[in-house]
Symmetry: D2
Subunit: 348 residues, 4 copies
Amino acid sequence: MSNLRVGVIGGTGYSGAELIKCLVHHPHAELAVIASQSKAETDIQEIYPHLTDICKFKLEDLQPDILAEKVDTMFFAAPSGASSSLVPQFLERGIRCIDLAGDFRLSEPEVYEKWYQHNSPEKEYLENAVYGLSEIYPQKIKTARLIANPGCYPTAALLGLIPAVQAGLIKGNSIIIDGKSGISGAGRSLSLGVHYSEANENTKAYKLGVHQHIPEIEQVLNAEAADRATVTFTAHLVPMVRGILCTIYADMKKPCITEELQKLYEEFYNEHPFVRIKKAGRLPATKEVSGSNYCDIGLHCDPRTNRITIVAAIDNLLKGAAGQAVQNMNLMNRWDTASGLQFVPNYP
Amino acid sequence: MSNLRVGVIGGTGYSGAELIKCLVHHPHAELAVIASQSKAETDIQEIYPHLTDICKFKLEDLQPDILAEKVDTMFFAAPSGASSSLVPQFLERGIRCIDLAGDFRLSEPEVYEKWYQHNSPEKEYLENAVYGLSEIYPQKIKTARLIANPGCYPTAALLGLIPAVQAGLIKGNSIIIDGKSGISGAGRSLSLGVHYSEANENTKAYKLGVHQHIPEIEQVLNAEAADRATVTFTAHLVPMVRGILCTIYADMKKPCITEELQKLYEEFYNEHPFVRIKKAGRLPATKEVSGSNYCDIGLHCDPRTNRITIVAAIDNLLKGAAGQAVQNMNLMNRWDTASGLQFVPNYP
Amino acid sequence: MSNLRVGVIGGTGYSGAELIKCLVHHPHAELAVIASQSKAETDIQEIYPHLTDICKFKLEDLQPDILAEKVDTMFFAAPSGASSSLVPQFLERGIRCIDLAGDFRLSEPEVYEKWYQHNSPEKEYLENAVYGLSEIYPQKIKTARLIANPGCYPTAALLGLIPAVQAGLIKGNSIIIDGKSGISGAGRSLSLGVHYSEANENTKAYKLGVHQHIPEIEQVLNAEAADRATVTFTAHLVPMVRGILCTIYADMKKPCITEELQKLYEEFYNEHPFVRIKKAGRLPATKEVSGSNYCDIGLHCDPRTNRITIVAAIDNLLKGAAGQAVQNMNLMNRWDTASGLQFVPNYP
Amino acid sequence: MSNLRVGVIGGTGYSGAELIKCLVHHPHAELAVIASQSKAETDIQEIYPHLTDICKFKLEDLQPDILAEKVDTMFFAAPSGASSSLVPQFLERGIRCIDLAGDFRLSEPEVYEKWYQHNSPEKEYLENAVYGLSEIYPQKIKTARLIANPGCYPTAALLGLIPAVQAGLIKGNSIIIDGKSGISGAGRSLSLGVHYSEANENTKAYKLGVHQHIPEIEQVLNAEAADRATVTFTAHLVPMVRGILCTIYADMKKPCITEELQKLYEEFYNEHPFVRIKKAGRLPATKEVSGSNYCDIGLHCDPRTNRITIVAAIDNLLKGAAGQAVQNMNLMNRWDTASGLQFVPNYP
């Protein structure tokens, strides 16, 4: 049986580089093309010297006609906004699309335009896109033509929240998510905020109250919960390259102890190899998932405050982007969910 | 007029080193003695080579009789638990004491013993100790014989919360504090969690629900607020040496906009040079206060969730420890509050 | 055909953890046992939580009789000095041994004892051990019973030097190697020098003139060069977890230009997939090999000073330790040299 | 006596920010104006929020006529090349000038143009500029009208080399300098090489054989040494914000032991408070000088190789730039050399 032919659009960003990492040794998919608007005709090894001898593609121009001939499935790792017009051109040509940007994640155009501040893709595509949170929506993903791959913070936050929300344990309007991200989440584009001398030995919050991941998290929670979720989410930059840690706070609807919660989560994720639940008293650390597709979750019920605290850790570029995208491709093709993703975390 | 003679007990930890930094060039105080249980007879320059030619003391043994002869005011930077028995011996000899450990911060012995898990100092001392949050209790500090210098997280959290709490703007039982600390907060004692290869490129939470700074924060808030405060506080280690960022969440009692809140805070701290309030839309960063005694505070009211978010940044070793201790000494002696503390933040 | 059964002694250090990473997904070898003196009976997942669900071994006690029954090849990742007595017990039982410590690298006992300051292994073993620099000694490695796996600095320095030395291009007594290492090279044992707050934002030299890698480098160079090599080597710690960069200086015996040197190196390493030669004007960076088994080499001839500068970069835990050890196992078994080692560098 | 009025041109770079830090609390100088080509009319607090409440200047336009009225001495912290035309306009107006760029460091125009690749300043200015290596040329500095403040690497390398060179201990053509710099040395301008995610966890060499600090070092050594110096210098970026460590290798002309060398250096720098010589067996670390104007020097004679190794550490932004510039101003005005520079190193 021949391999699936796959391509990457936007191979010059960090998510693109991680897609290449996952795809060059994938047992069932074959990387057939890498394209880039800004760097067409350049050798990928010039852009990423670490790929020397590993990936020898010359970046191709963004011509859907030509690219669509070469692939069965296309990954879009271009900046937010670019996929809106690109993806439909590939869908029309029968190519299955996995979009790592935010363009197709919000199902309502007006919500999209409020938070992203630019024009929404056409409503038809928003409605047909499947939100690719692999562990939560595997059935929908299997038959999807267009995957809206989740954002990095939402992946950690939602994997941490959904079991409790579905079980009716927490109040929807009490959820507070404090996210800490490594700096690769800001991408490879230069800016003062991620200039080394400014970002190192520095921790800061950003985009208070206006982060585009807020409606993404709320949309999914509202689909899963009985009562309406209104989420406060704050993003922070911490001085490391990779990793996201989300610390999540919520009021309990009924008393619960940590061990019960742990058991609930273990059962919820029992069939899902990439989610690991910590034993009571243990907490996740970003380094323990770095370089891998794992999401580690720690849990704590506090009877004193009647709140639960959930801590979820992922590698923002893998489970938070390229890794989950490949996991979704695996689901779409009914391959083992971990195909091409058996990375042992990079420790220390 | 001759200078005040001051000493440092526990000169081998990071807070001790910072005290020395503040005291060697202090215009009114003269560093007269440094003592250490573990390293008596050692030259401080052996322990901290960066102090070569700057501070030439040999560490002295911990003999209260002898030490008390040499100083008017003593700083205690020994590990938690050691001050309980040491401080009274100096108080009895008429020495004013500034304790940087947690021993005298909680006024009720049973609360102390529950959270610190060892015996409380005698109740008399707990009752007479003045909590040295310089901007909030300057009058009490001026006449204190014993200062319980605040913890690093509580300093940032309380300076961030008190104006809103005093103004009755937020619900006492809704307060959530998400603290991120640089690793120097763990001190100079070796442990795997702060071993370089384990801590770098890593972010993690610790001491969930049991951190000893929780009752410290609640005690002060309950003294300042009309309604009872129950606080959820989570400490995190982020991979940098210095700095604490506290992100604080609370439900608003009545609608408020960011600019009003900013104005309230600016007026509250108008006379206090070490607290700087960010303009609406700007947020603090730990690097902007690193190496200084400043506390920078950013504010955000979110009408969508009816919550306020307060972000406070300090250098954990200065405003969070040694700097505030020296500020308290300045207050006790009616010197300019910034004497010896005019450090420009170390940027970049 | 059944897999080779392999074991790891010293599974609790960083080299041990990397061996596990290379072996759990190795196509031809099967990890059969992990042993540890200090942590016998402990679950490896307790020691390294990042291995949860990946490697479920309980550490076994260091009993050669029992361990030798379970494996065909044993990796020794114990601290320097422990292998001297352990390895012979496995050799006698017919087990092939790959030692990652320095115990069997120096062929002369008196040299060993001078630089290591403890007793040498028996001369018989020193003489029979094969120095496992994979690209240089593949034939000897194929038939070896005992591999002395090279040190981290020597691997980078020797791969950088040997083509020029064999070609007679440089003066043996002019070689200066300035090595910069990430801090994981110091291992997982606690010490003040690698305490996070001391090591971060810090660069320093150590072991000037007495580093045990000096005689290791000289021994190999003297075997390969016509004229006697006397090497100055200085080790430095730089604030990162992984990576070694060796900058090597030597006087040219005859004029040479960079492009010629580059061609010489390309040809020398033509058949060796893990050595990548940079084009003239390009230089290696540790991040471009981090998490992989590559050694990247950059070259520069300076007609002004009549010197060449060679820059070699490796991941100290992989090509500098566990990766090369597995590469040697591959050679010993005539498997593809890259089996189990096809790690794409972890970038960014 | 009124204070000296001083100004800073190029206040938006890191050297400019450090100059402000040194000048705002200087006992004898008064910061009168800050100017900037790119950011005129902007509040310095907008550019550097850490200076809020500390320095309230609005940046002024680069009009020599107007600026010259306001100051007695001007510091130039503009990018390399800008000073060539700016400085003469201030000199003509009787202003003493201290230039932190490289424009006036090389006395021969053709050497300047070869290494800097743009037009040299007029020869008259090159000849009259005094090279501001404070400890070596204090007499010339005292009467200078124009100071060419040394580069960061040359400061560390020359302070490390000159005592040995003047004493005739080392061979001029054998000198190799391996420099490691924190990333703030690259300034505040954005580029991929100093983008956080690229630079963190990365060590690399750059500008091999073509770094403009090579002729600067050689020019000074040739003025101080009997035999001609030809220097190999390699610059490296290491992942920290501040600090330079230069490891210097040279062949000894005659046998020498470390203790003798140490004594020679101690005597040489006896009157110079900012140079600290390490005892034999101790080595400097960049963190021990970070945030201060110190240069720490460690020494090692190796009888085995007949080479000496000198290790010198500075803070690249202070002793390597702004600190030494202020030290030169102090010398020019016969103030205490440490005026405004009594910074205790920022440790940990």
